[in-house]
C-alpha cells in the first residue's frame, strides 16, 4: 500500500476510476491517503496487512455502501472483504471501497 500525496495522480493506468484504499485522519497531513492497485498482488497484500494492523490497534474504519456509512466490524483476509454486518450481503470488497480510518478516540 503506498502513501498518496496531494496532487499526485491517484488513478489507474486506464484512468477510468480512482484507486481504492483508506484515508486516515492524521495529525500532520489532515487526511492521509493510502492507495493500492487491485491488479497488483504485492500492493493488495500490503493493503491487507495495513487493514489488519489498523483494526488490531483499535482504529475505527468506516465504509460507504450506497448512501449509508458503516463501521467495519471485521476484515476477512481470505476473501479481501470488509465485514459490516452478520450476513454475507454485508460484505464490502476492499477493491471497491474508499474507506476512512480514525484512530482510537478519547472523550474530552
Amino acid at each position: 500500500m503506498k502513501p498518496h500525496r496531494q496532487n499526485q495522480d491517484n488513478t489507474m493506468e486506464n484512468n477510468e476510476r480512482p484507486l481504492p484504499g483508506i484515508d486516515v485522519l492524521n495529525t500532520g497531513y489532515g487526511d492521509f491517503e493510502l492507495r493500492f492497485d487491485p491488479n497488483k498482488p504485492d500492493e493488495v497484500q500490503k493493503a491487507k496487512e495495513t487493514i489488519t494492523d489498523m483494526l488490531k490497534r483499535g482504529y475505527a474504519i468506516f465504509v460507504r455502501q450506497g448512501a449509508e456509512t458503516f463501521r467495519v466490524r471485521k476484515f476477512d483476509v481470505d476473501k479481501n472483504v470488509y465485514i459490516i454486518g452478520s450476513t454475507p450481503a454485508e460484505e464490502v470488497p476492499i477493491a471497491e471501497a474508499r474507506a476512512t480510518a480514525v484512530g482510537r478516540s478519547a472523550g474530552g
Binding site: P3, Q6, D23, V24, L25, N26, T27, G28, Y29, G30, D31, F32, L34, T50, D53, M54, R57, G58, Y59, A60, F62, E68, T69, F70, R71, T100, A101, V102, G103, R104, S105, A106, G107, G108
Partner: protein
C-alpha cells in the same frame, strides 16, 4: 565554527505545526498511521489510555527558541503541594455556574470548595494549542469533509463553522462544529430541546481546551463518521457535557 553550530530557524528549529508534519512523515514507516501528537508547553496533553505513545503525556519541553533563534529556558512548574483534603463529591451548579466540591480532611471534617471554569481561559488555551495544527492539514481535511456532506452543508460549514445533520437511526439532530463539541438535539413537530455537547477527540486532546491533537475539521469528520456508522459508540466514547458548562463551547 560558532556560527555553524548555531541552530537555524526553519532548518534545525521548527514550529509546532512543522514538527507535527515532520513527526507524521517520519513515523509512517512505523505504522503510526494517524501521526503523532505534539506536546505544547503549558498545556496538559491527554491521550487515549491504550494509545501506543501514551508516554508523550509526560513529556515536558525544557527550552524554546524565539524567531531570532535565541534560546529561552522553560521553568518546570513546582510540583503541587500535597493537600490534607480529598474530594469526596462534586457537582455542577447551573444557577451559579460553578462546580461545587465537597472535600474531607484526615479527621473526616467536611468542607466545600467552589471551582470556577473560565470560558475566556478555555478560548485562550485553545489558541495556544492551535499552533500544532498545520494549515495544510486543515485544508486537506476540509477537502475530505466536502466529499462527505452535501454541497450546501459544506458551504454552511465554511461560512459559519458548523452544519447540522439528522441521524437516520435515532432521528436526533447533530450540530457539527469546527473546534467545538458536537451538539445533540431532539427536534421534531412535537418537541424541540437540546440534549448535550458530545466531546470526542481521535488519539487525544489538550486539557481544559477545545483542541484535539488533530486539526479541527479532522475531528468534525471523526464525529460525523461515528454518528453515521456507529452512533451508539459515538455516545459511549464521547464525554457528554451539559450545554451550560464552558466545556460545551457555547
Amino acid at each position: 565554527m560558532g556560527e555553524e553550530s548555531q541552530p537555524q530557524v526553519g532548518k534545525d528549529l521548527v514550529t509546532y505545526a512543522q514538527a507535527s508534519r515532520q513527526l507524521a512523515e517520519a513515523h509512517l514507516g512505523q505504522r503510526d498511521w494517524s501521526g503523532l501528537p505534539v506536546p505544547v508547553a503549558g498545556l496538559n496533553l491527554v491521550l487515549e489510555p491504550r494509545y501506543k505513545h501514551k508516554c508523550l503525556s509526560d513529556f515536558r519541553w525544557k527550552e524554546f527558541y524565539d524567531e531570532h533563534g535565541v534560546r529561552h529556558a522553560i521553568d518546570e512548574p513546582p510540583p503541587p503541594k500535597e493537600s490534607e483534603f480529598r474530594t469526596v463529591n462534586s457537582w455542577w451548579n447551573a444557577r451559579y455556574q460553578v462546580t461545587i466540591l465537597v472535600v474531607k480532611n484526615k479527621q473526616g471534617r467536611a468542607q466545600f470548595r467552589l471551582l470556577f471554569e473560565d470560558r475566556l481561559a478555555f478560548t485562550i488555551r485553545t489558541l495556544d494549542a492551535a499552533a500544532v495544527w498545520p494549515v495544510e492539514a486543515e485544508k486537506k481535511a476540509q477537502e475530505k469533509l466536502a466529499s462527505l456532506i452535501p454541497a450546501d452543508a459544506f458551504e454552511l460549514y465554511m461560512l459559519t463553522g458548523h452544519f447540522p445533520e439528522i441521524s437516520k437511526r435515532s432521528g436526533l439532530t447533530y450540530l457539527f462544529r469546527r473546534g467545538r463539541p458536537t451538539i445533540a438535539l431532539r427536534q421534531n413537530e412535537e418537541v424541540n430541546y437540546e440534549l448535550c455537547a458530545l466531546c470526542l477527540h481521535p488519539i487525544g486532546y489538550y486539557g481544559d481546551t477545545w483542541a484535539g491533537v488533530m486539526c479541527p475539521t479532522d475531528e468534525v469528520i471523526a464525529h460525523l463518521l461515528m454518528m453515521r456508522g456507529s452512533e451508539e459508540k459515538f455516545w459511549a466514547n464521547a464525554n457528554q457535557h451539559p450545554l451550560d458548562r464552558p466545556a460545551a463551547g457555547l
